[in-house]
Amino acid sequence: MSGLSRRRLLRTSLLGGIAVYVVPLGSRAYAALVDDRLLTAPAVDNGSLKYRVDGRAKVTGGKVFARDIRARDMPHWPQQQAHALALRVTMADRVYAGFDLSMLGADLRPDRVVTAADLARDGFAFPDFYGTDMLLPEGKTPAYLGQAVALLIFHDFARFRFAKDKLQFNDAVIRYGAVTGPLQRDPWGAGRFVRVGGKTPADGDVFSSTRQAPLYISTYDKHRPAWPKPSRDGDLGEQAMFYAQAIDEELTRPPADWLVVTRDYATQSADTAALEPDNANGWYDAARQELHLVVPTQSPQEVAEGAAGMLANSRLGLKRLFLHPCFTVGYGSKDHSPLPYYGLIAAAYGDGRPVRLAYDRFEHFQAGLKRHQFSMRYRIGVDRKTGLMQAFQADIVSNGGGRANCSDALTMVAATSAASIYYFPKTDVAATAMSSRALDCGSARGYGALETLAATEIMADEVAGELGLDPIELRLRNVLKTGMKNAQGAVPVGQQRAETVLQKAAAHVLWTGRVARKQAYNAANPGRYYGVGFGCIQRRFGDGAQCSLAKVELSADGLITLAHTGTEIGTGTSSGQAVACARWLGRPADVLEMAATDWPELPVETSGNPHAMAQEEQDRLAKNPRWVPAFASASSASNSAYYFTHATQAAARVVFLHGLLPAAVAIWGREVKPEAARWRDGALTAEGFEPLPLARLASDAHARGLVTGATVHVFNRWQWAEAEFEIDGARVRLPVDALSLRRGAAKDWRVLDRRAVFLPPTRNNNAMVGYNTCVGTLVEIAVEASSGKVLVLNHHTILECGNMLVPELVSGQMQGCLASGIGLALHEEMPLYEDGPGNGTWNFNRYYLPRGGDVAVWQQTAEVLPPLSDSEPPKGMAEVVMIPIMAGIVNGIAHAIGHRFRSLPVTPERILKVLG
């Protein structure tokens, strides 16, 4: 087929002079392209979702993942599929001197070899975010283990497959020259967050990141941060160091009634082990000057922009880019991943054939983004009599590996999360993201906070032990309550519920009965030691610059269509957003389009960095009514439940208030206040008026020319942007920063220029944390003396997350996160350097992932605190549940055998070493 006729269905955006068409698999646009559908209409029973909208496709083995797609599945592509693999270095302390493919012989020789010289000649380079040397040129020392040096392209699968068998694990392929030692480079970033509070938690701070500023530095001495010299009267950095020095002196020479505890903790480098290995499939159509790319990504907008920029700078002369993001799973490893760009390169050198670059698990281990290894030195001063914590000092170092990626931002989040549920009058948290020859690290689930929070919770038990206090009692005495300031000096938004979680844990039978249960278990199970541990954390969701677009449309017969910039990454985002429509429209959306990136209905403009922008710059830019601080967020940072839902419901609310409700009022013949209206069984009623089915209201709204569609852009920097618009002759203030409307049956949309905008101040960036979700987990373990194994017998989790969109999805997320936390506490580990995954020999045979038998699959229980009100928003909870069980297990081991481990994972070998 020509493709062109159908492509007229698609909408475009222009990036870097290249028209970009983003057509997610599973979208309406893709269905129009290939006549296939992956999303079913939401099945609803009594207002609840019966099953995931992507469920049938997934449970029947449908082509859901990018990995499933071959050229033959793309009807407008040539059908002959070519395949590519990457050659990678396995040493990073010597010069790379080329490669030798002689072992392939004539039969298996690749049809095309792409090296750094090709990229240089043709003007291909990574987007700036990923750094230099997309393929390492000969004569340079690799920046990191596993760095790619060449792509080999084979025009058929069989030769690709057998050639790979000969190349993999073969040390003769890559040639090396002189030993230079690893590259020594400055850290990817460093920052410091100092706070000295007032006399009480309610008093103003003497100094804090929010009141003054965080301290970010860019100067280093021998690759270590060169912090400013302390000065009370100096600039803000020098002032921060003055107060940091004072805290240090107080902890070094504490008052007589203080206990000061100093501990070193370490967490491991890990792989997120998303089961779909990284992959891409692309076709460069030279005749039409088009490039088509099927990719798994958590951030399609980033890939669209990056790929378009990369192509625009090349000598390919491309006019159009077609991007097909698919459902995927990454746990952060497919957010800002370099893989799509390697897929693009492979396609560009396909000689007219579609090229698939699909890693196997060994390659995924060797090239996929990793979890940062963390080292933490914590010092806590606590009043012996009251048990109240007085000061917290932390020196946090993450190992970000060979490319910067998000290491700087992630490590700052780690730092600003470390104080967790506790109120400290004084804090000094320094954090450095180191560069190294380890693999590059990405936004692995938890985004740095997992590591620092787990350490904090292990330390809380240690402090309690030193004081002779019940560990939960110590937590209760120090818990951050509503209105108290966090370690940055910001007051977290909303009711803080950690105290309730702690109280519930303290009353749970696993905690109250732990002494008796220990005695009984140990007596009944000779050779095993029983223990109960607890951890409780709160963690932010979102990243301080959350934004998305959502479009809600009603057809004349009441069909609800939702389009959203959010991407489905397996967590149920699509199902959750469908359900989110019900609050204003009475039932979930019928038709979904996720990962939408083309928005002709609402053409917004953006510029600048929303995280680092000066207030003056924001004020100036905001005068343009089409300007917004950022376009659309990736699916990450547990952002769908709260942030994506806000966009969906803001659009649905406009349709309700300016379309459905006026239609109902016209039928009822009497004015009704919005708050009096209720949806019952898909019909709108109020004050005893006739229930009106959605289809009737939609039909009426269409006939009367009322609002039948709303597209919104929303932005949140720890508070929502708001703007005023003129609708139906009245000025209304909405929690959005851009809006367009469709009326009646009109096909055209009208963009409403905002009359005033109220963007969150840039000062909010200093807070780093605004919204929290809290979770606590009690875990019951036994240590097997003969093997050193830790058996997870049971666990109970207490979560607060507002109103749940789909309770079954929340429950599934919790259970999955608990399994992941168990893996990181007890099993998952790999060396950072030469013996690690960069050598290409790592797989699940030596990287153990928890199985059903490891997670107390039949015993585990959980409870979710009732929401504070019907209107409390849903809160992000996808990552947070991983963390407390990690600390709980370590604390439980201490209860069982009396030894406190401070380095994860706690493997049988380490336990046996302790047990002798």
């Binding site: 997934k58 083995g61 499933d68 998303a274 698990r361 789909v806 999805l809 045979n845 199985r851």
Partner: protein, 182 residues
């Protein structure tokens, strides 16, 4: 290209492929993916650990067994009958799909998130149900039986609980799969 080839006969989801020219030494998962277009058997590890790639081998003695296709050469399946995830649900002449009880239970229970491991769990549970049909298990042993049958399968999203519960509930609700006493 002069790669050695051989002819095999495969019956996949009731469809006979005879003969199929395959390169010698090719793994079954590659044949399914690249030659037959059946990509539902997922490649997770490629070394037989994660079990996302398992298919059901239907033996002549009416028993069935899971086989990891990522470590099993296509030659092993020569002359054999297998079911992949694409063949578990029934499709009638009008193209209407009826999910198997296991698939329906996984859907109803929200057992999976990303769904990458789901085909392996469906096939493992299907084999288990077929075994219990031949050899019922005591009700008190159902949970242990489910755990043993699914233990090898790796799930990274939902922590196993909803998979295990779904299979348990299907077994307990299906007449003939359990007995009251040991």
């Amino acid at each position: 290209m002069s790669l050695p080839m051989r002819k095999v006969t495969l019956t996949v989801n009731g469809k006979r492929h005879d003969p199929l020219d395959v390169p010698e030494g090719m793994m079954m998962i590659d044949v399914l993916h690249e030659m037959l277009g059946l990509t539902g058997s997922r490649l997770g590890c490629g070394i037989g650990i994660c079990h996302a790639c398992v298919v059901i081998w239907d033996k002549d003695d009416k028993t069935s067994e899971e086989v990891q296709t990522c470590i099993t050469g296509v030659e092993f399946f020569d002359g054999k009958r297998i079911r992949t995830i694409e063949g578990i649900a029934e499709t009638n002449d009008r193209g209407e799909v009826t999910l198997s009880p296991v698939q329906q239970a996984f859907l109803d229970k929200f057992s999976f998130q990303c769904g990458y491991c789901t085909p392996g769990f469906v096939n493992a549970a299907t084999v288990l149900l077929e075994r219990l049909k031949r050899s019922p298990v005591a009700k008190a042993e159902v949970e242990a039986t489910v755990a043993a049958a699914l233990e090898a399968h790796i799930c990274r999203c939902t922590g196993y609980v909803r998979y295990y519960q779904a299979v348990r509930d299907v077994i307990l609700a299906t007449p003939g799969l359990t007995r009251d006493s040991a």
